[in-house]
Amino acid sequence: MASQEEIFSKVQTALVDALGVDEEEVTPTATLVGDLGAESIDFLDIVFRLEKAFDIKIPRGELFPEDILTNAQYVQGGKVTPAGLEQIKQRMPFADLTKFSANPNVQDFGNMLTVQDMVRYVESKLAKK
């Protein structure tokens, strides 16, 4: 199985290509939206590149749970409800939700995902292969 450095390096390449950023900017703690400037359409591009680089399949909603974030059952007054947070946790066990849970504004969700989350996500996919 690929080492974490190998995974990081391939994730880094995917993000450099998809977002047109410099390699040095793609640090483990960089957030995809805030630091690297990813927009919603970039996620499709990122998903495609990760699938190709690691030979994995990434189902829609797994990397970015837009269906939960737009579901009235899980969002009230612009904030994700405790039940919604639980859903996200189950869907995205690779993401560190601590900071987001403290003030779960839907708008801030996109700014939560970091490069390290991507690496952990790929690791979990490869482990299941």
């Binding site: 998809a18 359409i41 499709l44 591009d45 495609f48 190709k52 829609r60």
Partner: protein
Amino acid sequence: MRWFWIDRYTEFVSAQHATAIKNVSLAEDHLHDHFAGAPLMPASLIIEGIAQAGGILLGQATGFERQVVLAKVAKARFYFEARPGDTLTYRVDAQDIRDDGAIISGTSRVDDRLQGEVELVFAQLGSKGEQTGMFERETLLNWLRMIRLFEVGVNTDGTRIVEPALR
């Protein structure tokens, strides 16, 4: 200006790849502004042509039921300028067609010389069967006939692509 940036398809294999040509002509108005006395085909319009060739490849793959939108030019590199008299041959390959979009890679050639390379991300909007606002269906069909899609288009099993019914 009419927004047709390929003249005709020369090959079209459903959901896989297609080639189309664009003849650059001194009769095109915009070349006289880009630039006066030095007409060059703008690279942005070459990207648009490749996107039209690739967008139709994607649209046909999903039965023209969804709105296909060029969402992102992930990469574009050009190696020399295209000039009046040049015939640009665009080749588009569907790298990945998903429910919400597609990645299409494309090249532009003049004779055997690689003129440009692009990578395009398309989004598919609206749900299947929903009337989409971008084109009237008849307008779309007319366009597809003009660029000879149904004269050269085949499915992966080699059978002819037939015109979708007007609804």
